[in-house]
Every structure is written in structure tokens, then in C-alpha cells.
């Protein structure tokens, strides 16, 4: 039986966003109607960046609103797409005259509502471009279907596009940069236990003590297979190896690595995994040019982690290194 720090499951998203805004009054503002989070001081004369999706993945996306990243976040209910009107309001709010890049994780509802919002924004003479994030290697199949899910690579895209937009790049340039990162980044996840919905008492699925779910999604979706529970180095290798193969990372190549906690993984565990990722990559002659370790794209209190690898093209690193100041990411 899981207990949670809640008033009411219906209010969890709005109350948490209110709390986030109260904690960071110099960075963000929460507008309950229509349900968007904007910068406290809107940027001027730059390409706007809006992202959003279901809640339950905090600090994504509202935690990444601020200088050097998003202009607006549009949170839906837990694991549910924001509405088209919400995204429309967010898109219009993100525009300062140079158009808006919508960063969308690849889920049917999100894609539909962002597409519609883009069309509605056209009525307001706001130009939009879309970057679709579909990085989850576990859902890479040849079958005719919705395609790969969007997971933790969205963080890299928001950071890199955010820096480029802040530096004054135009709409097409920011969008193309985002699409390139989306094409090149891949993520793989595993979980020792699933997350529990606000108000629910049992997790989305259960696993035996000796089982680990490989290839999980971030909405309580089952993975692609079970693997035996093992030590951190062994488990981490189950994520790194398929990514290295998929990306064709040869000796001498260089990556940006994100070791991401899924909500219920504590920092000591994550850094043990980060060590394993580092050693696994360097052991293959792959340099870790930059890395980020922490719980950034979560799934409620899921106990698990994801690894995202992005080939570190030399021109990407200055965007990655550029200053950022948001509730959840600052350097």
C-alpha cells in the first residue's frame, strides 16, 4: 500500500504548479486558466519555445521554463495530453513575433492536440514549427503504428533549442537543430518497480523480487521484456549496449549522456549508474563529452532509470554549455 502527500488527486497538478511558481517567483508564472506556465519575464524578439504533455513527469516540462530553455510549458492531467485550446494559448503566449517551435513527445494525443494548436495559432498569424521527439529505442519496430515514444531526449532538445533561440536563431534554424537532435538521440529505460497514480494505492504493474522490466515507458507501460535482477553495472550495461549498437558509436566517437531517474530512484543509486555508464562507454573508446545525472523526466514514483545518448557533434556542445536558468536546470 502506497501513501502519498496529497490533498485531492483531482487537484494534484494545479496545486503542484502553483507551488512550483510560488517557489520560483522570479523565474515562472502559473496561469491556472488556461493552464500554462510562462516565464516571469517574457522574452522579447526571439523564437518562442513551447512544450507540454501529460503531467507525472516532473520536473518536465514546467521545471524547464526560463532563460535558455522553454518560454511556455503546457501541462495536461497526469499522463493525459493537454487540450488543443491549452496548447493554443501556450503557443500564442510563447510568440514574441518570430514564431514558435513546438517540442512534442510522440504520443497520439499530444501530437494531435499540438497539431491542432498549430493550425489555430495560424489564425492568430503565429508561425509554428514542430519538433517531434521519438527517442525510445524499446518501441523501435518496423510495424505500422505510432512509432517510437518520446522520452528523456526531450530534455536535450529543450536545452539545445532553447540556447539557440536565446542566441537569436530564426524559426527554421531552431526547428532544424531540434529535429537533428531528435533524429540522433536514443533512450532506453528499465524499472525495478512501477509508479503509482495519485490517489491509487497500487503501482501500475508489479514485478517479482528477482525481476526487472526492460524497455519501460514513462506512463506505466510494460516493457519489452523481463531481465533478471542484478547489480548496477550489469543492469546499466543492458541499457548502454543496445544504445551504442543502435547509434553505431565507434571508437573515438563522443556523446552527451543523460542518466535519468524515473522518480523513485535516489541520487546515490543514479550516480552509481552514471559511473557504470561512463566506464561502459569509455571502455569502448567512446568519450563522454558532457553528462547530466538526475531525475528530470520521471514517471511518478517509478523506481528505475533511463540512459539517453546523443552523439556530441562539435557544434552542439556550445548550445549544451550555454547558460540556463530554470527551476530544475541551472548553469
Amino acid at each position: 500500500m502506497r501513501r502519498q502527500i496529497l490533498n485531492s488527486p483531482d487537484d494534484v497538478v494545479s496545486e503542484a504548479l502553483e507551488g512550483l511558481a510560488l517557489a520560483h517567483p522570479s523565474l515562472i508564472v502559473y496561469r491556472p486558466d488556461p493552464g500554462i506556465v510562462t516565464r516571469a519575464v517574457p522574452a522579447r524578439n526571439k523564437v518562442g519555445l513551447v512544450s507540454g504533455g501529460g503531467s507525472g513527469h516532473e520536473p518536465l516540462h514546467a521545471g524547464f521554463v526560463g532563460t535558455g530553455m522553454l518560454d511556455v510549458a503546457v501541462p495536461g492531467a497526469v499522463f493525459a495530453s493537454p487540450t488543443a485550446l491549452q496548447v493554443h494559448e501556450g503557443t500564442v503566449a510563447a510568440d514574441s513575433g518570430r514564431g514558435v517551435v513546438q517540442i512534442v513527445k510522440n504520443y497520439t494525443g499530444d501530437v494531435l492536440n499540438f497539431q491542432i494548436a498549430g493550425e489555430l495559432a495560424g489564425d492568430d498569424a503565429v508561425r509554428t514549427e514542430t519538433v517531434l521527439v521519438a527517442d525510445d529505442l524499446a518501441t523501435d519496430t518496423d510495424e505500422d503504428g505510432p512509432g517510437r515514444r518520446g522520452t528523456a531526449a526531450v530534455l536535450a532538445i529543450e536545452k539545445i533549442c532553447g540556447a539557440s533561440a536565446e542566441a537569436g536563431a530564426d524559426l527554421g534554424t531552431v526547428a532544424e537543430l531540434g529535429r537533428r537532435v531528435a533524429r540522433n538521440a536514443r533512450t532506453l529505460s528499465l524499472a525495478l518497480s512501477a509508479g503509482t497514480h495519485p490517489g491509487a494505492t497500487t503501482p501500475a504493474f508489479s514485478l517479482g523480487q528477482d525481476e526487472v522490466e526492460l524497455g519501460v515507458g514513462i506512463h506505466g507501460e510494460r516493457g519489452t521484456g523481463r531481465i533478471p535482477f542484478a547489480d548496477a553495472d550489469t543492469l546499466t550495461a543492458r541499457l548502454v549496449e543496445p544504445l551504442v549498437t543502435e547509434l553505431g558509436l565507434a571508437k573515438g566517437s563522443s556523446v552527451i549522456a543523460i542518466v535519468n531517474g524515473l522518480g523513485g530512484t535516489y541520487p546515490l543509486e543514479l550516480h552509481v549508474a552514471a559511473r557504470a555508464v561512463h566506464r561502459g562507454l569509455t571502455g569502448r573508446g567512446v568519450t563522454v563529452a558532457r553528462s547530466l545525472v538526475g531525475g528530470y523526466v520521471t514517471s511518478l514514483d517509478m523506481h528505475g532509470l533511463s540512459v539517453t545518448l546523443l552523439p556530441a557533434d562539435p557544434d552542439l556542445l556550445p548550445w549544451w554549455d550555454a547558460p540556463v536558468r530554470t527551476p530544475a536546470l541551472t548553469w
Binding site: G76, T83, A84, L85, T108, G109, L112, Q115, I116, E119
Partner: protein
């Protein structure tokens, strides 16, 4: 030479009449639509439709629309502010419907063009074809029937009545289909034998349009959705 009925204006105040009839028709039936969705989809359809209409009603109460386009835009925005995937699709459908009139109430031809445009928009976003067990199965025969009726010179009342019948026929046809799109596509054979709630709702809204044109006093017969 055949005379079309494209230029005949629909009844005065058609927008308000249609929207009023919509509210009345759906009020008691969202529970039944939700039940269909629980049998074949994920169960949220009834709630989504009722919250979309509630949102539309609120905006109408706050700022009463002054013309056809205003009435239908309120419905469109009600749906666009709703979750799920059918909600936004109906929202975009009504957006085309709201835009079909050049000024004031639409002519029959404009209404027909609006329906055809709305169908195309739903298909563009939803990627559904006829036979996929979605709202398209009601809207496509309706749009085709209305186009033919207008070309044949049918009076608006007759044309919209035929359109509604075609939509109901199309919706009823979804009972035997296996879903290829939407949440029901995940449950495969389980959904066979169940009327698609999206198609049912699409047919009901065209029944409401026919009744609005026919004049006061009637009531939309939705008993067919109970099987």
C-alpha cells in the same frame, strides 16, 4: 436543366436552434455513449462529450453569440478544450462547420460544403477511412448524401433529413466492424458487436441539425443507439 438548392438559406436563427437541439439531444444520452465506449474503448467518451458541451454552454451564457458562426464556434471551442482524441476532432469538425457561412445563416450549399470540409479535416487529423469504426463512418455517407441532395435540388428540410438518415445508417453499420483507429483498435474483436460511440455522436448531431431545420416541436429519436 436541373436546379440545385445550394442557394436556399436555412431557417432563420438556424445556429441557435441547432445548438439548443444539440444540448437537448445529448443531455440525456452521454451516459449511453459512455457505456458504448466502456464496452469498446477506454470509457471516457461520454464524460468528454458532456464536459465539452458544458464548457460550450458556459461560454454561451457568459457571452451570448450573435450569429450562426458564433453559436457553432462556441461548440467548437467546447470540444477543443476537452481531452481525449475524439474531443479535439469534433472541435475541428465544428470549426469548419462554423466557418461555412459567408454571412449570417448558411445556405444549404454552404452547409454542405462545411460538412464536407469538416469530414476532410477529421480524416486529415484522425487518419481514419470509412470502415475503420470511427465517426468517419457516419460523417462520410452524410456528406455524400447532402451533396447529392443539393445537386438534385432537394429542399433544405428534405436534404437534411436524408443526411441525418445516412449518418444514422453509417453509424449503425459500425456495429459489425472491427476498429482500425482509436482506442477500440486496441481491443480488436471485443469491439465487434458494439456501436462506435464517435459515429453515434456524429449521427446524433446531424439528426439535431435536421430537427433544427424542421422547426420547433419535435424531438430527436436516439433510441437506435441502444441497439
Amino acid at each position: 436543366m436541373t436546379t440545385t438548392s445550394a442557394d436556399i438559406q436555412l431557417v432563420p436563427d438556424f445556429g441557435r436552434l441547432w445548438v439548443d437541439t444539440l444540448f437537448e439531444t445529448f443531455l440525456d444520452r452521454t451516459g449511453a455513449l459512455g457505456e458504448l465506449d466502456r464496452r469498446a474503448g477506454d470509457g471516457d467518451f461520454g464524460t468528454n462529450v458532456s464536459s465539452a458541451l458544458r464548457r460550450a454552454r458556459q461560454s454561451i451564457d457568459v457571452a451570448p453569440p450573435s450569429d450562426y458562426s458564433g453559436w457553432l464556434t462556441a461548440i467548437s471551442r467546447g470540444f477543443l478544450g476537452t481531452g481525449g482524441t475524439s474531443g479535439p476532432l469534433f472541435g475541428m469538425f465544428f470549426r469548419d462547420i462554423a466557418r461555412c457561412a459567408a454571412t449570417g445563416e448558411p445556405t444549404l450549399g454552404e452547409f454542405s460544403s462545411g460538412l464536407t470540409a469538416g469530414l476532410a479535416t477529421v480524416q486529415r487529423y484522425g487518419k481514419a477511412q470509412v470502415g475503420h469504426k470511427t465517426m468517419v463512418d457516419a460523417l462520410a455517407p452524410a456528406a455524400g448524401t447532402l451533396e447529392s441532395a443539393v445537386a438534385a435540388g432537394a429542399a433544405p428540410g428534405t436534404a437534411l433529413e436524408k443526411t441525418a438518415r445516412a449518418a444514422v445508417g453509417g453509424a449503425r453499420g459500425t456495429i459489425e466492424l472491427i476498429a482500425k483507429r482509436g482506442r477500440a483498435s486496441y481491443v480488436g474483436d471485443v469491439a465487434r458487436g458494439v456501436l462506435d460511440p464517435g459515429a453515434a455522436a456524429a449521427a446524433m448531431l446531424l439528426q439535431a441539425a435536421a430537427l433544427a431545420q424542421a422547426g420547433p416541436g419535435g424531438r430527436v429519436d436516439t433510441s437506435w443507439i441502444d441497439g
